[in-house]
């Protein structure tokens, strides 16, 4: 009996399963009739302990004349109680697939039965024009407010650049419809996109009664970059990893790994052990600097700028660590199909181990100092409660989830790369509030240090890259998962012909955390709004230095921090003048 068969046989008792396909050992796809879709997903989700990890609409009209929907469920147990978890050997991915005929692009909404699907189904309409019948909130989600009604960008025959629609004048742009509570005395307070502490492309409307938030709605996706479309049209597999990295400015490595591993898994490429270990190291370094950033910001939002600055002191060491592993201060530009571009030398490993000691010591010191401050803890405790039932319904991920007492961790539930051989604990807190989330992050920092140390100590020898000799198989698809600092990233890749991707679906961790944010706002004061958003972990990007290479003259020059600073102040002697 293979992984997942027991669940499928249970589904079969009530629902006709047309087809069962196995992608990898722990990834199975079942095809059901579109009218059975909601019930199949509900059974797997609530009856058998699944979580909705992603949903991929796909335009397969070239392949079989239909659209297809893939609901990816992570089978790991409901986790509402400690016993309510599947045994490790039963955990798997089950994808529920259904075909939608091209001449009738509708399907029954799963959201009515599994609320977690709400954003996915809204996006399915935006991108493919697939209407979820019965969807309680059918507003558009991803495309801009002035987007033409009949243009669905991810359809294979859409976005012909010869027929590009004219842009709408900004005065004629329609307003986005926010869900507003009725009643007198409700004040709506806008937060963002240029609010001073959340200068991210996201706009929140807080509906307040006095100082208390009674409801909230938000509009995101101001900067949809069309990466999935870009990948289908222009990128080959060598470039995919680098594109996926650019999804995020801070946990980009996790995206690159997710994307490349999905592609590798679909055709069954085994990566050398040394590369696996180093991939794990990079992911954990990313967790280190990302969590440090977030804990720092959570302090800063509550006015504790001192703690923020001292946490950033530690973060600098993690950047150095990244430099030892990948050669750059961030972890970027290292992942390719079949392994990694850069190997580490013995001295680098030794230096890294020394750095880890420093990081661990200083981290404990600073965290103790922060925890010593009652005022700080009081600002965090009881704020932004993520109710356990809401969490069960909306499938959030990452520290957001673990702060509410669910031990969901992709490294543990669906171990990838080297994680089978490592020992680590999942940090779980039961307070459901900002304090629990930050506390989970702190514990994970210590775990990450221990994981990196284990990897260095057990570092296998050999190559870091193999040539992916296997031919790319058109139509093969698989899921790539990893635990990014913000939670589980899911990438889904279907191979196409001519060394191109047929469909790439990237689901970043925060995508699953947004829908439940509304519930986290309720009942808190405006003073905590920015803190609650922060505790989900928004992200920033920064570059310290630039290397410029002139291709014509083959000269390269490293611009240091000093050069850039000098130039920004004097505007004289452009650093690239003599190139």
């Amino acid at each position: 009996m293979k992984k997942g068969d027991n669940f499928i046989s249970k589904v079969k008792e009530k629902i006709t399963v047309h087809n069962i396909e196995r992608q990898t050992e722990d990834q199975v796809t079942i095809t059901v009739d579109r009218n059975d879709l909601p019930e199949a997903v509900r059974m797997l989700y609530y009856d058998m302990g699944g979580w909705l990890s992603s949903m991929i609409p796909n335009d397969e009209r070239q392949l079989n004349g239909n659209y297809a929907l893939y609901y990816v469920l992570s089978m790991e147990g409901g986790k509402m109680t400690i016993e309510d978890e599947l045994p490790q050997e039963q955990k798997c991915w089950i994808t529920v697939k259904t075909y939608i005929p091209a001449n009738d692009p509708t399907f029954p909404s799963v959201t009515c039965k599994v609320p977690a699907a709400v954003w996915y189904e809204r996006e399915a309409y935006d991108m493919f024009g697939l209407t979820a019948v019965g969807l309680p909130d059918p507003r558009r989600l991803v495309v801009s407010d002035d987007w033409p009604k009949d243009l669905f960008p991810l359809k294979k025959d859409a976005m012909d650049y010869r027929h590009r629609p004219d842009p709408v004048d900004h005065r004629d742009e329609p307003d986005y419809k926010f869900l507003e509570p009725n009643g007198s005395g409700v004040v709506d307070v806008p937060l963002g996109p240029l609010h001073i502490t959340s200068d991210e492309p996201g706009h929140f409307r807080l509906y307040c009664d006095g100082d208390t938030i009674i409801d909230a709605d938000f509009r995101l996706f101001y900067q949809h970059r069309g990466m999935e479309k870009l990948a289908e049209n222009r990128m080959n597999y060598d470039q995919m990893g680098y594109l996926a990295e650019r999804v995020c400015g801070i946990c980009g490595y996790a995206h690159a790994i997710g994307c490349i591993e999905a592609a590798e898994k679909a055709v069954g490429i085994e990566v050398p052990l040394r590369a696996q270990a180093m991939r794990v190291i990079c992911l954990e370094i990313e967790r280190l600097h990302s969590h440090l950033l977030n804990i720092g910001l959570a302090c800063e939002v509550t006015g504790n700028v001192n703690a923020f600055m001292h946490i950033f002191r530690i973060r600098e060491f993690t950047m150095e660590l990244a430099q030892l592993v990948t050669g750059g201060r961030k972890t970027y530009g290292n992942v390719v199909m079949g392994g990694l571009r850069r190997d580490m030398s013995g001295t680098e490993i030794k230096k890294s181990l020394e750095l880890l000691v420093t990081i661990e010591k200083q981290l404990i010191e600073v965290w103790d100092a922060v925890m010593d401050d009652k005022a700080q803890i009081n600002r965090w405790k009881g704020v932004g409660i993520l109710d356990r039932q809401v969490a069960r319904d909306f499938s959030p991920v990452g520290p957001n989830m673990r702060g509410s007492g669910f031990g969901r961790d992709s490294r543990h539930d669906h171990p990838y790369d080297f994680f089978n051989q490592l020992e680590f604990n999942i940090a779980v807190e039961h307070g459901c509030d900002v304090y629990s989330r930050e506390s989970v992050r702190y514990q994970e920092l210590l775990e990450s240090i221990s994981i990196i140390r284990q990897c260095f100590e057990m570092m296998p020898g050999g190559q870091t890259i193999i040539k992916p000799q296997t031919m790319i198989k058109p139509g093969a698809y698989a899921i790539g998962n990893d635990e990014a600092p913000r939670g589980e990233n899911i990438h889904w890749i279907m191979h196409g012909n001519a060394q191109k991707v047929y469909r790439w679906r990237c689901r970043a961790a925060t995508y699953n955390n947004w829908p439940s944010l509304r519930y986290q706002f309720r009942g808190n004061t405006i003073a905590d709004a920015a803190l609650i958003v922060c505790s989900l972990d928004p992200c920033y990007s920064c570059t310290e230095r630039v290397t410029i290479v002139d291709i014509n003259s083959k000269k390269s020059k490293v611009l240091t921090h000093k050069d850039l600073k000098r130039y920004s102040q004097t505007l004289k002697n452009h650093p690239l003048k003599n190139m």
């Binding site: 004040v187 307070v189 806008p190 609010h195 001073i196 502490t197 100082d211 302090c299 800063e300 939002v301 509550t302 006015g303 504790n304 700028v305 001192n306 703690a307 923020f308 600055m309 001292h310 002191r313 401050d373 005022a375 700080q376 009081n378 600002r379 004061t525 405006i526 003073a527 905590d528 709004a529 920015a530 803190l531 102040q569």
Partner: protein, 330 residues
């Protein structure tokens, strides 16, 4: 003849106080940035002049030359006049503060107080509370939600903490039996041990905390804390109108520092070989440094936490303090 001399003297004093305190307020902003920076392992302003000292001038030029934006929907007369209230009340309050001990210039005795009124403390508290109208009117007239929230918070914060500061001051005043700050100062001329802080430590603590709240300093600067309500009442202000609020705030800080020094820390009485004038400068500098230190050390409190602190902790303590002082006096 004598009357004209008094008028001239008062005008000169007023101009000097205005100029010096405004200058000190500006300098305090620089010191604040430097001190905070060093506490947060940064350098602070470094690029304009040696150690960034000319940053002050740069900021001043910027404030004076920046465009003065008035929002379209604002209630214009009130929006324009609100910023004037802040420094006006802050400087008016200083009229009753004796800054230094008496000294003699060219045989003419100068009392460094603009007007020695016999209810000095009451006058200062009263005028300072009028200052509350500045953020209130600013917030309400600028038709901005963050500003409105800031204004609402101002009223709660200042009103609540005025109760605490008033009650806290009552106990030492019972001991002294006078509301004139000169009398209060002279009451403590018996050297270090006669400082009121030793007799009234609780009142000192309460008044200091209330002082932080009334000058909108961290951890109680919730009326304009940027992470929560952008810039509070000042969100829509720019240029010199905003600058006026700023000067008012720092002038208030200096007033509070003087009040604390005079009422609790022995005022301008000479200490050991140090003359009184130097002594009070040291005291107010130390107290202003405390303002900055606290800002670096503490996170913000939420409005509800602040109210809890005010009404459930500080006010009962102040009452108990008065009661005990009364019993001891009887």
């Amino acid at each position: 003849m004598n009357e004209i001399a008094i008028i001239i003297e008062t005008v000169i004093k007023a101009v000097v106080v205005l100029a010096v305190v405004a200058g000190m307020a500006a300098f305090a902003t620089f010191i604040e940035r430097k001190v905070l920076a060093y506490m947060q392992r940064r350098l602070g302003p470094m690029n304009v002049g040696p150690h960034g000292i000319l940053q002050l001038a740069a900021d001043g030029i910027k404030l004076f030359t920046k465009e003065d934006i008035i929002p379209q929907n604002a209630v214009k007369p009130i929006f324009k006049i609100a910023p004037v209230i802040a420094p006006a009340t802050a400087f008016t309050a200083m009229a009753a503060i004796p800054f230094f001990p008496e000294f003699t210039v060219f045989g003419y005795t100068v009392t460094p107080i603009i007007s020695d009124i016999n209810v000095g403390v009451l006058f200062i508290m009263g005028v300072a509370s009028v200052g509350m109208y500045a953020p209130l009117l600013a917030g309400m007239s600028s038709t901005n939600k963050w500003a409105l929230l800031g204004a609402a918070r101002t009223v709660i914060a200042l009103l609540s903490f005025e109760v605490v500061s008033g009650l806290a001051l009552l106990a030492p005043l019972m001991l002294i039996g006078s509301l004139s700050l000169i009398d209060i100062n002279d009451f403590q001329n018996g050297g270090f041990s006669s400082w009121l802080v030793w007799q009234q430590p609780l009142a000192f603590l309460l008044f200091a905390i209330a002082g932080f709240a009334e000058t909108n300093r961290t951890p109680f600067d919730l009326i304009e804390y940027e992470a929560e309500i952008v810039s509070g009442y000042a969100t829509d202000y720019s240029g010199m109108r905003w600058g006026l609020f700023f000067i008012g705030e720092y002038a208030n800080m200096i007033t509070v520092a003087f009040l604390v020094s005079i009422i609790f820390l022995g005022g301008y009485n000479p200490f050991w070989i140090i003359p009184g004038a130097i002594m009070i400068l040291i005291k107010i500098s130390a107290f202003i440094f405390l303002f900055l230190w606290v800002r670096a050390a503490w996170p913000h409190v939420r409005p509800d936490q602040m109210m809890w602190l005010c009404w459930k902790v500080l006010m009962p303590l102040a009452l108990v303090n008065i009661l005990i002082t009364g019993i001891v006096l009887i």
